[in-house]
């Protein structure tokens, strides 16, 4: 090989070594992975901002490390399904019941012991006890403070009325809205759901990617009302002060202000079952539940922990009793949403 060839080869080979050396000290992957205390691995569909402090609390308490992989719940569910029995994950912490039900449907979760299931009301867990709710959220109508309260509808179904044309925001690609439509189909029937979706599309409902932009669009007076989870507004008010120009309305009728849950399950393939269950138990301690209630303004699910004082108590939120596992039946919802042009 000539000088040129060698030079080129050396260049190609040296580049990564040089770069690797330069930044090798910056952040060692898995540097907190002390072999003497191998920790469990959690796949978290809940955002780092919220979860990292909770994990820190747990690590301090048990003096073991926890490895967390973040992603969105549905993608992590797909990843768990592809990994099958070889998954490195021990625990799946999901943003919604639907993703958990999918992983459960692949028979990848194992039943939780009774002492865990007993801590949470039965409506917030899987029928077979394969996963359990951690915190709850309500589907509300957020509205700008320049909208008069009298004008707000008693049912989300009324948002298809002509007085709301072009004034409503929603996030049809977002899992929480799709869960809402699924619930609508289960509770009110296919026809009502279809009529509502068609009405929303005809009414020029503005589509956004997720809840946050819907809320921000209301704050910016781009739209007047929007369907979001309650805590998006509660968080913004906590952060920006009482002058933040968005409020929450709990509709009473039909689906009312549907309550849904985040949840957690233990993978059947775990190699550290005791530790995984210990982590789930921790999430359902008063300490952890209080943390979720305060930081994210979600509803705690165990007895004895109160929600944020600015929120209406969970028991007083009008929501139909439905089996949350049913909300994983999204295929029919998607077909319907596509058919009506909502997606």
């Amino acid at each position: 090989m000539s000088r040129h060839g060698k030079l080129l080869l050396a260049l190609v080979l040296a580049l990564p070594a040089v770069v690797g050396g330069a930044c090798g000290s910056s952040e060692e992957p898995g540097s907190n992975d002390d072999p003497s205390t191998p920790g469990i691995t959690v796949y978290s569909g809940r955002e780092p901002e919220l979860i990292v402090p909770a994990i820190d609390m747990y690590e301090d308490k048990v003096d073991r490390d926890v490895q967390i992989r973040f992603g969105d719940s549905a993608t992590l569910a797909a990843q768990l399904a592809e990994e099958g029995d070889n998954s490195p994950a021990d625990v799946f912490f999901s943003q919604d019941a639907g993703s958990l039900a999918v992983v459960d449907g692949e028979e990848l979760l194992e039943p939780l012991p009774r002492d865990i299931l007993e801590r949470v009301p039965a409506r917030f867990q899987a029928d077979g006890g394969d996963w359990v709710g951690v915190s709850a959220r309500s589907r509300v109508i957020a509205y700008g403070t320049d909208v008069s309260r009298e004008e707000l509808p008693d049912s989300p179904l009324e948002l298809t009325g002509p007085e709301w044309e072009g004034r409503v925001g929603w996030a049809p690609t977002n899992a929480s809205l799709q869960g809402y439509v699924t619930a609508l189909r289960k509770v009110e029937g296919e026809d009502v759901a279809r009529e509502w979706l068609e009405g929303m599309v005809d009414n020029d409902a503005q589509a956004y990617e997720s809840n946050t932009p819907v809320r921000d669009a209301i704050a910016a007076s781009e739209i007047d009302v929007g369907l979001v989870n309650h805590y998006y507004v509660a968080e913004a008010i906590a952060e920006n002060g009482p002058d933040y120009p968005v409020r929450v309305h709990f509709p009473r009728d039909d689906l009312g202000s549907l309550v849904n849950t985040t949840g957690v399950g233990v993978l059947a393939s775990t190699d550290d079952r005791a530790e995984a269950l210990g982590f789930v138990r921790f999430l359902l301690t008063p300490e952890a539940q209080r943390y979720f209630a305060e930081s994210s303004k979600e509803y705690p699910l165990i007895e004895g922990v109160e929600p944020d004082h600015s929120l209406r108590p969970l028991a007083r939120i009008p929501s139909p009793r439905i089996d949350l596992s049913d909300l994983s039946d999204l295929q029919g919802t998607l077909d319907l949403m596509r058919d009506t042009g909502a997606l």
Partner: protein, 523 residues
């Protein structure tokens, strides 16, 4: 020259690289095979056709738009007396460093409802600007942030043009416009085609811009299938349609490139050409460059700088940004280096030993680039947990995934550079008794080195902003700038992502500069 049989080693290496690069396509086939009927249902839905037509429309419009921007910009910055043309050459290349999801978000911030522009025109009595969402927004974002993929090779090709051809045409009395059309443009076709191909494939696979612009493309549909219906079969079936679309695009490109020779037939050197005087077109030309740079570069970077200063005011810790930047740099450099080595095997095999096998190897390798990142990532989750468990979710696995994703970006420039090396030089060396590998090292490699550098730079530029594979396959706790940006934006704090986004642009700028300066010069 009659096709020769490739050396066994080269054939094995090329097929191995091609096979690895085709893993995403194989994964799709395996997933679909299990559920053939429901996969067929998903494909033959009326809606699928609608989305496919919309996507084809977007791909065509973005490709035409990118070529329409890139060719005049390339010509102005290479061949004319445009004032400060070296500066313009760099500035017009830089929009490539802006990830499409960031660029689209910034366009919405500027031109969306209640955006900066709306605020500016409201006093003039314009209450609502035409909506940027949908086709127009997706087209604008993708065109503005991908056209350098055409600009770079066209600039390279323009610089390599043999002035003798144009001088000969002029001597025979052809007018300048005629010369441009009949002599210059045909010489640019491979560069325009190659760049246009990358733009088209990128548009097929892009998720960031179309989701922010709410344009329902095929890739968005695939994401919806994964994220909302959890239907992996449907997603795989739609992915397979993308692979077919990619094969069609590649076939079109192959026809365009044809079997023509682009290397010199006789001896001679490439020498610089005199600059063409713009005359009274100087001002419009400057305005054109200025508008493109203002919208595609100054506006996004300006917004990011503005948000960054606000973040700095809040006393944000910069330590993690430095660490994440190091990780991004590490992964992108490794992917670029390995990508070039792999791409060399594929390029030599396909250019020097054309055969059905080599064509298949090259084309299936493009699947990684035409498919959305989530599909590439899940395919390697599938294979990683089944055949390479010890490597699963290690740095090696992540680099491998990203290399598979962007390998075609290196194959392209290397192949183009190789096409311009007359095979006779290699034959002469062989005739003098050198062995094939020796010939490659001493004769071919130095001649295609700049093509290799261009390929490496392209892979680097894409790898440094890669997100889906990094989320699924990185070692736990391994954060990059892209995952940091994702973290912030998924919590709804877009402004907080401004600093990592700016650092990302800074890291990507030097290789891009190299790319715009050197292009694929092979002289």
């Amino acid at each position: 020259m009659a096709p020769r049989r490739p050396p066994v080693l080269l054939l094995l290496a090329g097929v191995a690289v091609g096979g690895l690069a085709a893993l995403p396509a194989v994964y799709l086939a395996i997933t679909i095979a299990g559920e053939a009927s429901s996969a067929a249902d998903a494909v033959f839905e009326r809606r699928t056709l609608e989305v496919a037509l919309r996507t084809v429309g977007l791909v065509a419009a973005v490709t035409v738009g990118a070529i329409g921007l890139a060719v005049p910009l390339a010509w102005l910055t290479v061949r004319t007396d445009l004032p400060a043309r070296r500066l313009w050459a760099t500035l017009t290349t830089l929009p490539l460093v802006i990830p499409s999801y960031i660029g689209a978000y910034l366009l919405v911030s500027a031109f969306g409802p209640r955006g900066a522009l709306q605020g500016a025109v409201e006093p003039l009595g314009i209450e609502r600007l035409p909506s940027i969402y949908g086709f127009v927004g997706a087209w604008l974002a993708l065109t503005l942030f991908t056209y350098p993929l055409v600009l770079i090779p066209v600039r390279g090709a323009l610089r390599r043009l043999d002035p003798q051809l144009e001088e000969a045409a002029r001597a025979m009395g052809r007018r300048p416009a005629e010369i441009f059309r009949t002599v210059v443009v045909p010489q640019l076709v491979p560069a325009i085609g190659g760049g246009g191909l990358l733009v088209a494939l990128y548009t097929l696979s892009d998720f960031g811009a179309v989701s922010i612009m709410r344009f329902d493309s095929f890739t968005r549909e695939i994401y919806i299938a994964y994220q909302a219906s959890f239907d992996r079969t449907e997603a795989a079936a739609l992915g397979a349609v993308l692979v077919v679309a990619m094969l069609v695009l590649l076939a079109l490109y192959a026809r365009l490139r044809g079997a023509r020779a682009y290397h010199r037939a006789g001896p001679g050197t490439v020498r610089p050409m005199g600059a063409i005087s713009l005359g009274r077109w100087r001002v419009p030309a400057l305005a054109f460059c200025g508008v493109v740079v203002a919208i595609a570069l100054l506006l996004p970077v300006g917004l990011l700088v503005y948000w960054s200063t606000q973040q700095l005011g809040d006393g944000l810790a910069l330590g993690s940004v430095v660490g994440n930047a190091g990780n991004s740099l590490l992964v992108a450099s490794l992917a670029a280096a390995i990508g070039v080595v792999g791409a060399t095997c594929v390029a030599v095999l396909t250019v020097r030993f054309p055969s059905p096998v080599s064509a298949l190897v090259e084309r299936l390798g493009y699947a990684g680039y035409a498919l959305p990142g989530i599909v590439v990532a899940l395919s390697l989750v599938f294979f990683g947990t089944r055949v390479a468990l010890p490597l699963y979710q290690t740095l090696a696995m992540l680099v491998f995934a990203i290399t598979v994703h962007y390998l075609p970006l290196a194959v392209g420039p290397l192949g183009a550079a190789l096409l311009q090396v007359p095979p006779r030089i290699e034959e002469a060396a062989r005739g003098l008794g050198r062995r094939p590998l020796e010939v490659f090292g001493t004769v071919t490699a130095p001649l295609v080195a700049s093509g290799g550098l261009a390929g490496a730079a392209l892979v680097f530029l894409h790898a440094v902003k890669e997100l889906p594979a990094t989320l699924l396959l990185a070692p736990i706790g391994f954060e990059t700038l892209a995952t940091d940006i994702w973290r912030q934006t998924s919590s709804g704090f877009f402004e907080a992502a401004a600093i990592p986004a700016l650092v990302l642009l800074l890291i990507a700028a030097p290789p891009l500069y190299l790319l715009s300066e050197k292009g694929t010069v092979t002289s």
